[in-house]
């Protein structure tokens, strides 16, 4: 489980940080694309916690730890509802 969770964390983090680094560079060079890159970087970082929770819930479920899987799914549900509300406003 640890390896799968770590991979999910790395994927989201590196994408988000990479886009933020590109945004910082673009801002330093006064490029018009900087705000868009920064927004995409933040969105990539925002996706990482729900992604990690989904991986954790799946891993607990496969291990037979149903209570821990349910806890992770409840938290995931709360995050997704809040994120959807933020995206729609």
């Amino acid at each position: 489980m640890n390896r799968a969770v770590a991979r999910a964390l790395w994927a989201g983090t590196l994408t988000g940080v990479g886009l933020c680094a590109a945004a910082t560079l673009a801002r330093a060079l006064d490029l018009a694309v900087a705000p868009r890159l920064a927004q995409l970087g933040v969105i990539a970082l925002f996706i990482t916690p729900p992604l990690r929770l989904a991986v954790v819930a799946g891993a607990f479920w496969r291990e037979g730890s149903r209570r821990h899987a349910a806890a992770a799914l409840v938290v995931l549900g709360a995050l997704l509802v809040t994120a959807a509300r933020a995206a729609l406003l």
Binding site: L45, P49, A72, T82
Partner: protein, 256 residues
């Protein structure tokens, strides 16, 4: 260019301390942005929450890979922290700024005292599975408070989670730090979504901070196994006293 570099430097400091001490680094970012840069407090909190998501994701990936975090404890406590974060970030939308700043200072000073007291009982054990976990009720209560404080002040909640896990639940300091790091990103994301929905989040402010915090978190998590837990807690307690005092001075000075 200089502003982006300065923001990245603040992020790097926050990231390394966050990884070393099991906090999100918001305790550095929020006062630095609001007191030194004059960024509106809610915008500073929102940027700090994004930084905390990046910091937590980067450092906890390393911890989880090594098996240092207790994920079973983490997912249960996250139920409480996320509920608290949603409540706290909603309240932050209408709470007066001086009150939020004073609360920030009080939280910092309280945590300094708790960490200084708990320093004597700090364990250097790094085994995530061997310890017997107890005190779930105070642990969940502290986690709810930690989540609410995170949503209100953009501090990640490690300030409350760490004493809760080490003192109330008997989890060794290094395991608690790794588990706290794993949880902090989820807690901060819940709060950040609410700030984003309210229009308080400026991605261009957050981006250079994220770059710095990522580099700092990598440095901090690689140093953690080599550093003694007691000294870390003591140093952090002193830093909190300084930041809390600085914030109180700023609010009371501004009121005159």
């Amino acid at each position: 260019m200089l502003a982006a570099l300065a923001l990245a430097a603040i992020g790097m400091l926050a990231g390394s301390l966050g990884a070393l001490l099991g906090i999100g680094g918001g305790v550095i970012v929020v006062p630095a942005l609001s007191e030194l840069y004059g960024v509106p407090f809610r915008h500073a909190v929102a940027a700090s929450l994004v930084v905390i998501v990046a910091s937590s994701s980067a450092s906890s990936a390393a911890y989880v890979e090594r098996g240092a975090a207790n994920l079973r404890v983490g997912v249960v406590l996250e139920l409480a922290t996320v509920a608290g974060a949603l409540l706290g970030s909603a309240v932050a939308g209408f709470a007066p700024i001086p009150a939020l700043k004073l609360l920030f200072a009080l939280v910092a000073l309280y945590s300094a005292v708790m960490l200084w007291i708990g320093r004597r009982g700090a364990s250097d054990s790094a085994d995530a599975s061997a310890q017997a976990v107890h005190g779930w009720v105070p642990g969940l209560a502290m986690s709810t408070v930690a989540g609410a404080i995170s949503g209100l002040l953009g501090v990640g909640g490690g300030l409350f989670k760490m004493p809760g896990m080490t003192l109330a639940m008997g989890i060794p300091f290094k395991v608690a730090a790794a588990t706290s790091n794993f949880m902090i990103g989820v807690t901060a994301a819940a709060g950040a979504y609410v700030y984003f929905a309210r229009g308080d989040l400026d991605p261009q402010l957050a981006a250079p901070l994220v770059v710095g915090v990522f580099a700092g978190a990598m440095l901090g998590s690689s140093l953690l196994p080599r550093l003694p837990a007691r000294r870390l807690q003591g140093a952090f307690a002193m830093l909190l006293v300084f930041l809390g005092g600085r914030m109180i001075w700023g609010v009371l000075g501004g009121a005159r």
